[in-house]
Symmetry: C2
Subunit: 229 residues, 2 copies
DNA sequence: CGAATGGTTGATAAGACTCAACTGGTGTGG
DNA sequence: CCACACCAGTTGAGTCTTATCAACCATTCG
């Protein structure tokens, strides 16, 4: 982790990218920016650990972060794969509970950190802010809902189909935001099974593998696979 | 669904059971109670359907409700088994989004419904209220987190062990709050597999089946099973 | 009584996991 | 510069858990 010291304008620009701060006035935003610090982190670095007390809100401006916890068996279970711009585990932070999981950097990232009390202070003057926070939590809730739906879906192929469709809601080109083994874990699959599932989809003509990523060749075919199982 | 007309005191008493309303003053609470109505519902009745717009907050005072959605395959997936007193799908209600899943009554229940706008109006005067709501959402988030952890756990036996341990954090006696096939579904298992997993635990001496429910005979043994897989 | 529901048990089959081998790319240190 | 280890990804073969299908029992309810 390397701390940078960008200008206030730069910091404000970073913050403005987040939906959460849209309701803040310009002075409020730069006030927050003033309290915040900017860091870069490389692959493999640890953002936080489960159980540590959450003192600052981490904002992922650019890069990728994985959120995971350790199962009793000792295995890792990835529950989020975040790409910037995104808040990181904001629910736990705002509720004042310790981090519920571990966060590791997956690829070179730019992060902004804001002390918890500074943010909390803001909510007093901004009644909409808690509602925005709830909105964020609600999307997490929906993500989890989808994850559960996905884990309940028996077939590996259809899990992958769901993932691909949601990863690229409109454009046919998918650049995976994490290594395949992480995505496999997120989907509750082994890397081998994930690889084989992709192959099945290629053979069926639903997708094509390209150097840069994956291309959806036949969206409706992919959608029909969901219904199968 | 049969609508009752209890006294204002009775209604207020029901509401007071919920954590959410703890910060409200007596007049506020009875004001809310005045707007609310009380109903009873029998097994099999529908509380709401996925996609319907959420106009009132349902409070389950007594009884059992299942929350589920339909997978693409047409199968049901149970995501919550609620016992009163409990809020039902409050996150969706407060966010103003349509019901994200279906809710059916599992056993004879007593319900209170409060129009959405009346609750929202309250939050203006009670700045803590949104935070309490967030608290509720946060617990759901944690429930989902646990569900995902559970679904990721491979062994059926350990899934059941987790369920039993969390269902009875202290006392050894467990009265299942839903039919076994619903619990099996909630755990991502077939009813047959659930039954067999219980049998394994009985044979190992971890639990015992009784007429009224299940008794934990050897808690530490049960806990050790979690670690196995 | 007959039907429906919830639960248990047995036999079989399918799907994913496991283990192992192999590839290509990347980074490191002698 | 090369040998080496390491990591991500792929493929193959065998195993194992769970789903599936079927039969059966108990209870409840009309």
């Amino acid at each position: 982790m390397k701390t940078l010291s960008p200008s206030l304008e730069i910091k404000t620009k970073y913050l403005r990218r987040l939906h959460l701060f849209h309701s803040l006035s310009e002075p409020e935003l730069s006030q927050i920016a003033d309290f915040s610090y900017v860091r870069t982190a490389d692959r493999g670095e640890i953002l936080f650990r489960q159980g540590e007390s959450a003192r600052e809100l981490h904002i992922l401006v650019r890069g990728t972060v994985e959120i995971f916890f350790l199962l009793e068996s000792g295995e890792k279970k990835v529950i989020h794969l975040l790409s910037g711009p995104s808040l990181v585990a904001e629910a736990a932070l705002f509720m004042g509970s310790p981090w519920p999981a571990d966060a590791h950097i997956l690829s070179e990232s730019l992060l902004v950190a804001i002390p918890r009390d500074k943010i909390i202070a803001l909510t007093a003057a901004n009644p909409e802010l808690p509602w925005r926070l709830m909105g964020g939590m609600f999307s997490r809730l929906n993500e989890f809902r989808n994850t559960i739906e996905n884990l309940s879906r028996k077939s590996a192929v259809s899990r992958v189909a769901v993932y691909l469709l949601t990863a690229a809601p409109d454009c046919p080109q998918i650049i995976l935001n994490a290594p395949k083994n992480k995505i496999a874990n997120y989907l509750g699959l082994r890397a081998e099974t994930f690889s084989r599932a992709l192959r099945v989809l290629v053979n069926q003509g639903a997708i094509a593998m390209e150097e840069e990523g994956i291309r959806i060749m036949n969206r409706s075919l992919l959608e029909s696979i969901l219904g199968e199982q």
